[in-house]
Symmetry: C2
């Protein structure tokens, strides 16, 4: 598959994902649903779900099998952005050029919508056609990436003076990327060893992603690694991590060109305008 | 078992629960752990865990089997108090006479600790010796009671002008009581019909609990039912709901005196100084 072909694949799969995700946000069930919709459909790049879906190409059976997992991961990611934007944390008025959720509605409702999105993610898994044991593992992966070993833990480290930046990134950003790939590997029925390798790749990829964000200073996060390391040091660290990811991808020998193409797009993000 | 005997039972089980809960908050794993400890051990009445544990007396095997579920429920309850106290919602400075979590630490860390406590609840279930399918059902019950069909949904209704007060109470307070009893009934291996009856009893009990709170105006919640109904109407509604709970308890014929004693203490709360 050529790069343009892989790009076409990713675009069609993104459309499929948008439709699926929309079907999982039932209308008018609660006052929080308009907030879910606003937060989930506000121009997100869908990096995590597309990783899940492109890796899902390896499934001989229906590739739609990975959609619930992709949606659950995106819901938790969105919940983290909603909570992170709140006045208590980053106090952002805009996200992707639009008013943040608490600006468009209210801080109280936004807080609750973030809480509710995590439960909605678990509900999507519950309704999926996965086996009981797979549902449990995916739900636990999702919740772990949300908690003190994941996003909440990493964000709390931002508020403390002496946190190790790489530990912080591994939790804040790496944990959900790791969960996304680990969960997909579980759905694909890979061996425990291979599942673990995908989890490690996800964690490293998340660190790369966060280093790129900090170097572009695109976030208004309370922490930026540039406060600890100078730019050349950061660029060197990024390069090391990118090399490490490429070696891991090579070892994994994934026979899914869209996955490899997307991976390369992420690894070169910031160097290329078309990057996600 | 006489009432004093049942009371003794409840006191010893509460001590057992405190010890168990404490063992589930590992020290120094993350910056959030001191916050977990502060929030979880600040004089809570442990109503939900004691309901779980006293119903667990029906187990012929070790009654400690219900402890993980009791702890998970208390963690989600605590998370809801932490989020509800935040400046974005009720903006409370004190809870049970002590500074609220965000006053003692910071609002940002308190928000993240609330998020993390939900994941910690799921983790406790993951580590429990339940079967895979029981773990999944309990985890889903826990998450549902946290989301838009539970606490987050009910609290969001408080922020809107035309919410139905009983629907609001059923979600804000009823959902977690319902989950607590439904989950215990599942652990006890009850029939689906009986499990459902316990869930209904839990929901009604939660509504009673919230009506009592509103009548005592003990909370500083953004919503009080006395803004919709006058005091005699509320008292009449409470009486109806209490009667309904007593009838349900009668139908269920639970052969666990501490459970029945605790139930009666809750139903007469506010009429009796010793009530929980």
């Amino acid at each position: 598959m050529t790069a343009p072909k892989a790009n076409r694949f990713l675009r069609t799969r993104e459309a499929l994902f948008e439709e699926y995700l929309s079907s999982k946000v039932p209308e008018a069930r609660s006052p929080l649903h308009p907030l879910y919709r606003y937060a989930l459909f506000s121009g997100g790049k869908r990096v995590r779900p597309l990783l899940v879906i492109s890796l899902g190409e390896l499934l001989s059976a229906s590739q739609e099998r990975v959609l619930p997992w992709a949606a659950a991961v995106e819901m938790v990611h969105t919940a983290s952005l909603v909570h992170d934007d709140l006045p208590l944390l980053d106090n952002d008025d805009l996200r992707r050029g639009k008013p943040t959720l608490h600006k468009a509605f209210s801080p109280g409702l936004a807080l609750l919508a973030g809480d509710g999105l995590v439960s909605l993610g678990a509900e999507v898994l519950q309704e999926a056609s996965y086996s009981t044991s797979l549902k449990l593992r995916l739900t636990q992966l999702l919740l772990r990436s949300w908690g003190d070993q994941g996003i909440a833990g990493g964000q709390s480290m931002e508020l403390l003076p002496d946190s190790d930046p790489l530990d912080l990134f591994a939790m804040k950003t790496g944990a959900l990327f790791a969960a996304a790939l680990e969960g997909t590997a579980l759905i694909l029925g890979f061996t425990p060893k291979r599942v673990k390798l995908f989890a490690s790749l996800g964690e490293e990829l998340g660190i790369v992603f966060q280093l790129q964000d900090d170097l572009q200073d695109s976030g208004s996060s309370s922490f930026n690694i540039l406060s600890r390391l100078n730019r050349p040091e950061c660029l060197r660290l990024l390069e090391e991590k990118v090399d490490r990811c490429r070696r891991m991808v090579h070892t994994l020998k994934v026979d899914a060109p869209p996955f490899n193409e997307l991976m390369e797009r992420i690894l070169t993000r910031g160097k290329d305008e078309k990057a996600p």
